[in-house]
Symmetry: C2
Subunit: 460 residues, 2 copies
């Protein structure tokens, strides 16, 4: 098919929405190590996980054999409200850069949650409803995940309580209001509504809260409420699984036009977006069918893949979750205060960590002023105002396209544009005002975080 | 074609983006009265208008003979970045309402400006560039128009100065930041940068500004700057013309699936969105080819069509523009302070006014608490968080669908979903908190505004 026939936006039809999620765990020859119960240091049982999470999500979490897991019709019906998402050919960006590279991006921001998070939120809300639960709880930092889950909960008629990190709740009152509009109960964390919250408030009366504390409150609330479970927006295998609709739609759209990507670039926070984007392509790579260069991009100020340790660590800073083997900066790690966007998680999805450990993907770090430069350039040229998180991928995509300009290579670059930046204008303002700064932690800076990695036998 | 085959979202292909705008002025048997020069009370000449506006926009403004006006390739290329916009079948809403009605909406919010405004912004920026201008000016209230024009100006490499009503600029700093990200210079109005601004500041030192004052500053800046023109986002015929891409895409998509609308509903502020939505259908109605019920919806607190006078009036409150014959509440009219959304213009597009005067369209008013009830219901059921403006159309569409439920009629309803509400969360918060109130002006309340309508011969 000739170049000319590729439109700006490739839209699949609604009956091309994937009918199955792609289980990367089944495609991987070596599986990642299992979650451990921190009390016994033995692999978590299904029963243990089911006390916190919905049953079918736990089944998916532990499934390492079925390559395709069917997407229930009810979830596909919801997907039809905003999927398939467009695969965009960045003709304007290519022209502006003067590069022979062909740049594509998969745009997940065209829904009210403003990001890919909705792909897993609807699945998890559906399974909670199907299990007969009345309510779910979660935590949210910047608010994308809380918004997505609010939308999904409203649709399925579930009560939702969101513990929103207090400082975010104060800085982003509009995010909170979107969640309330969708019927969610939003509680600034730490709060007086849980033991965990009260404890923190006694110890640190003026605290602005943290994601770790919000997780503790949400888990406690779920475990002490009848017919309630806790729901998480990234990191876990079943979340990554739900995000594989992104990669599968890309693959179908590209095959339809005979496009073969040379590199696939995604931003990496907890890893679910990046994992979901690359999943089916990675399956092919493992099977020897392609040699795609996969690049996960993380902030220089929160470099879990590139500078973290591959070790068993808690998934939260309150140390109440199972232990996961992953690249981690230590569960006590906090990015420097001048860190503007998301992607501030101390660890990385066990699946993505394992792929990195096995040399199947690369990772890069970028500094935030360079990220916002790319964001602004992209906004002006391609129209879309990107989320700071997504702009990490844009930065590297532009850099790679400029390399092609030097070498004359006409590489095909695909990157994930995970969301929009409408609720990130405070960070954009810093950039516009010229007051944004960078911070690259020294090895000494990272030391303190590493000390919070449990000193247990499996980590020796 | 059977009901079953209609997808949730009908996407046309990019080569189905209209190649021509539909000139409703040419389709109308009786033309609306011409603009008058307020000094001479004679019809404005092309030369007079070209001092303020771009030449090709003036040509379009005055064209009452060519039914189709070609869309330049450069504009169509820009349209390809976000058009065709989806025509959505509101299956979920129909089911939730239990109505036999078939509800469709044309969604114009999937672009960074968040609304239909971009359709005209890109056209006007293109013509300014083509004319060899270096810069353009405009005013913005809530900020949708300013954002759209910032995007278009960045794309075509034009300098843009936006005079943003001071109180909006303070209440919506994030909107201002989006414009800055696209390279626009945003000045809170009234400002010290113009005579008009300085005069107002001397007279009313603490004023929060008004749209009328911002218009005066923008026009003055354009007329006193080399290679600069003023650009407007609604009301004028050429703006409405550009918005006809909305209606044309609807018509093509509906014809493709054999869908015949019984009623078309749109919100009405300046009238360009509503006019653009109905244009090609109205052309057919005038030609006797359909009998569609067209309904323009306006706020009860700013009822220009339903309670205004059909008279010659200024387009701005500073009384520096030509006189237009339109339904108007008087150029001094200001909606009550508790009015939350947009749609606060004192007048109405001369085209829409004429159609209303001739009985070709109906108009309805709705109160804002009822509007936000509909907005919340729609958000929860259909996923999309609507702009308050768009929600006026949603309110009436839901009401009409509920009437169908009573009568058992399976009417086909099309409404315009002009934009998203991400930057309107302050108003949503009022609604969520239960502090939003309604205001219906009494006849006495309206009297003061009417007194600002010029007391000239043509109005007797």
């Amino acid at each position: 098919m000739s170049e000319k026939t590729i439109p700006y936006k490739i839209y699949l039809s609604e009956n091309e929405i994937p009918k199955y999620w792609y289980n990367l765990n089944a495609a991987m020859k070596e599986k990642h190590d299992p979650f451990l119960n921190p009390a016994t240091l033995k692999p978590c049982t299904k029963e243990e996980l089911c006390q916190v999470f919905c049953k079918e999500c736990v089944d998916q979490e532990l499934d390492t054999t079925n390559l395709y897991i069917e997407i229930p019709q009810e979830i596909r019906d919801f997907y039809r409200m905003y999927r398939p998402s467009p695969l965009v050919r960045a003709y304007c960006l290519e022209k502006a850069l003067g590069t022979p590279a062909k740049i594509y991006y998969k745009f997940e921001g065209n829904n009210t949650s403003g990001s890919h998070k909705l792909n897993s939120a609807v699945a998890q809300a559906y399974y909670a409803k199907k299990q007969g639960l009345k309510s779910i709880t979660t935590e949210t930092g910047a608010g994308q995940w809380g918004t997505a889950l609010s939308m999904a909960s409203a649709y399925f008629g579930l009560d939702l309580t969101v513990f929103m990190v207090k400082v975010s709740s104060e800085q982003k009152p509009h995010r909170r209001e979107v969640m309330r509009t969708y019927g969610a109960k939003v509680i600034a964390s730490p709060s007086e509504t849980t033991e965990a919250g009260r404890k923190i408030l006694r110890e640190f009366p003026g605290t602005g809260g943290s994601l770790g504390c919000a997780i503790s409150e949400a888990v406690e609330k779920a475990m002490t409420t009848d017919s309630c479970r806790y729901v998480l927006g990234s990191v876990l295998d079943h979340v990554l699984l739900h995000q594989t609709v992104i990669g599968q739609e890309c693959k179908v759209a590209m095959e339809k036009y005979g496009i073969e990507p040379d590199m696939i670039i995604g931003c990496c926070g907890g890893g679910s977006n990046f994992g979901g984007l690359i999943a089916p392509f990675m399956g092919d790579k493992i099977a020897g069918k392609n040699n795609i260069d996969f690049i996960g991009v993380e902030p220089a100020s929160c470099p879990s893949l590139t500078r973290g340790k591959y070790a068993y660590d808690f998934c939260d800073s309150a140390k109440i979750t199972p232990l996961a083997r992953m690249y981690t900066l230590g569960c006590d790690f906090m990015p420097a205060p001048n860190h503007a966007g998301g992607l501030r998680y101390h660890g990385m999805s066990p699946v993505v960590s394992k792929l990195y450990h096995d040399g199947l993907i690369r990772a890069k770090t970028v500094e935030q002023t360079k990220v916002f430069e790319a964001a602004e350039q992209f906004a002006r040229i391609e129209g879309i105002l990107p989320a700071p998180e997504s702009s990490h991928a844009i930065r590297v995509a532009i850099d790679e396209a400029l390399k092609c300009k030097e070498t004359g290579e006409a590489k095909t670059i695909l990157f994930g544009l995970t969301g929009t930046g409408y609720f990130d204008m405070t960070s954009y303002k810093q950039f516009n005002d010229g007051t944004m700064t960078d911070f690259i932690p020294t090895d000494d800076d990272l030391k303190q975080g590493f000390e919070s990695i449990p000193d247990i036998a499996v980590n020796k």
